[in-house]
């Protein structure tokens, strides 16, 4: 594994080799149709060290961080955590924060679920 793949494994705490390719993650994913790389494919990208494609993927930001895949994965591979780790890699590289707490009130309306806010922070800021 390359350094970056190792880093993803370390950040996520996930062993991609445990995946048995059952697809339950993709079957559970509410954003499946929006994603270019599907949840069940994440491990393949990591296994063959194609981290660049993964970090360039739209899926990084289409993931809702709902963690349905993490919850339901029978092998403890947790694709949601993998993609989260990939996202973090990008954020670390750019060294930027995408969402400042000051900007949040403007974005809020009554309909916004709390979870969305949390997901947003997960995605755009560390």
């Amino acid at each position: 594994m390359s350094k970056q793949s190792e880093l993803i494994a370390e950040i996520s705490g996930v062993n991609p080799l445990k995946c048995m390719k059952c697809g339950k993650c993709s079957a559970s994913c509410p954003s499946f149709n929006e994603m270019d790389i599907k949840p069940h494919q994440f491990v393949s990208y990591i296994q063959r060290d194609d981290i660049e494609a993964l970090t360039a993927s739209k899926s990084l930001y289409k993931c809702l961080s709902c963690f349905a895949c993490v919850e339901r994965c029978p092998r403890g591979v947790k694709p949601g955590k993998l993609i989260d780790a990939a996202r973090q890699l990008v954020l670390r590289q750019r060294g930027q924060e995408y969402l400042s707490p000051d900007e949040v009130p403007a974005l809020l309306d009554e309909e916004t679920p709390q979870q969305l806010l949390m997901s947003a922070f997960r995605k755009y800021r560390r």
Partner: protein, 662 residues
Amino acid sequence: MQKIGVFVCHCGSNIAATVDVKKVAKMALKEPGVCHAEDYPYMCSEAGQSRIAAAIAEKGLTGIVVCSCSPRMHEATFRKAAERCGLNPYMVEIANLREHCSWIHKDMEEATEKAVILMRAAVAKVHLNTPLQAGESAVTKRALVIGGGIAGIQTAIDIADAGYKVDIVEKTPSIGGRMSQLDKTFPTLDCSACILTPKMVEAAAHENITIHTYSEVEKVSGFVGNFTVDIRKKARMVDMTKCTGCGVCQEKCPSRKTANEFNRGLNTRSAIYTPFAQAIPNVPVIDTESCIKFKTGKCGVCAAVCQAGAIDYKQQDEIITETYGAIVVATGFDTIKLDKYGEYAYGQSKDVITSLELERIMNAAGPTKGHLERLSDGKAPKEIVFIQCVGSRCSDDRGKPYCSKICCMYTAKHAMLIRDKYPDVNVTVFYIDVRTPGKNFDEFYRRAVEDYGVNYVKGQVGKVAPQPDGSLLVQGVDLLDNKQILKKADMVVLATAIEPNPDARKIATMLTASIDTNNFLTEAHPKLRPVESPTAGVFLSGVCQGPKDIPETVAQAGAAAVKVIGLLAKDKLKTNPCTAQADELLCNGCSTCANVCPYGAITYEVRLVNDHGIREERRVASVNSALCQGCGACTVACPSGAMDLQGFSNRQIIAEVDAICR
């Protein structure tokens, strides 16, 4: 001083590739008492053994160390080889250079260094070995089979046919087990009951078979050849000798609301009941927890309608004690509970069912009389989805890490039967892998696809959502198409993982048989002794050992029977001579050892003892070597060191410790 020969095996390259065997042999010669050392590619081979024989003859060896594989593998081989040359078999020790050294280490220097130390420990032990003589114990020519499913029935019939007495103990009111609940069997689609009931009848009618239904094993003591077992015969509240099996009591019983276990709780039964029509014995039992008479004291309808006068509300549990030479465990399986799998909506919707429930629905004697219908509204389903691997192959704590093995095939069977009987019903199977190793199995699965048009989708289901209109929305994935699928279904069938009978652990504990973390009983050797437990005299039949289908179960049942017959055919068994011995001169007579002996092998007697000229009567321990199994608990309990274990004496173990720490 002993004359010790050391024989270092290369085990082809298994040992020699990592351990410098020549060096081990060379170093052996430096050990005190070692007057012969050699290495050879295959010590266990005919040629290897004859080299040992030659060395014993030439050098007059009194003790032997074989540096080879695990003693669990070839200790018996080398002991026999020594015995053939007139050397006591217990003068042989094994240094485990393969499993404990060469196979786990890579660095040759390190492995060789360790190998030398292991060899030294074995040499140090052999110095203190003494010739031991195996005793004999008689064999009770009767076998016990725990569990009356197809595995237990087949094992019992095979043993009984060989002329030995067999008792079957079955927990439920009837023999038949899981197979009696099945509708059809793969891959030939025989009717399950049609092939099972003749076997049940055969067992019941066999002169050598005694069946104890509604009974449980309560206590086991003794050892191979001589087990003593307490069996609790639960009170049926029905006199077996009087009951004619007419069934009137069941028809008239006013309590009808108890979940019917046989139909997996899909309908209800009366409080007095036989689980199914072909039950053996065809004698009902009263479920005292549901019976109105037992709950309120007022009823007694069954007794009133019973022409034979068989109802006996005062019946008590009865404990019978029997002795057996061998015990077969055939406790079978159940499906796992699905309460942790909320995403499949099992329990939320009546139309999400397990495959075993589907068996009951498809069965003419089942809750729907064999009509395929939704349990929620009784309508005929048009779209059925099967989900594979529900709880199987899961590494989390929701399911089981193993493959349940039978699901791929029974799902193909179900799909095929449904498409055959109801061609207008669409069947979709979501699978991870289709596993069909077995004679005619893959052909069977292909028929489901090719001849019956079952739609197999490679991918899992993430969620089953019950809809307001009563349908089920199945969200799955087609991995080959890389598309998510949303499918409206009328019925969802879950291929639920199987797990060993929850009583398996309790029974294994009673039998002191090994059991693994999944509660499957462990076999003595995964390849070479698959139907024996490591505990002598205990054998394994059916799913209690691991997931299997019916043909495999029946094959294993026969194999277990052969092992039992082989045991019962012997009049005497050689007993392990590695038993405890009490030194009467050191014994305080304090009874501490007897308090920890699990076999009651230690008794006390007042004996005239000559202690270096002092003659006096002393209370001293005495070990019955036929009962002693050689655990050594007493040796540590004894404060004076009077109790010692032959073959694993205090001095022998200390010599090994010293050699390792030298």
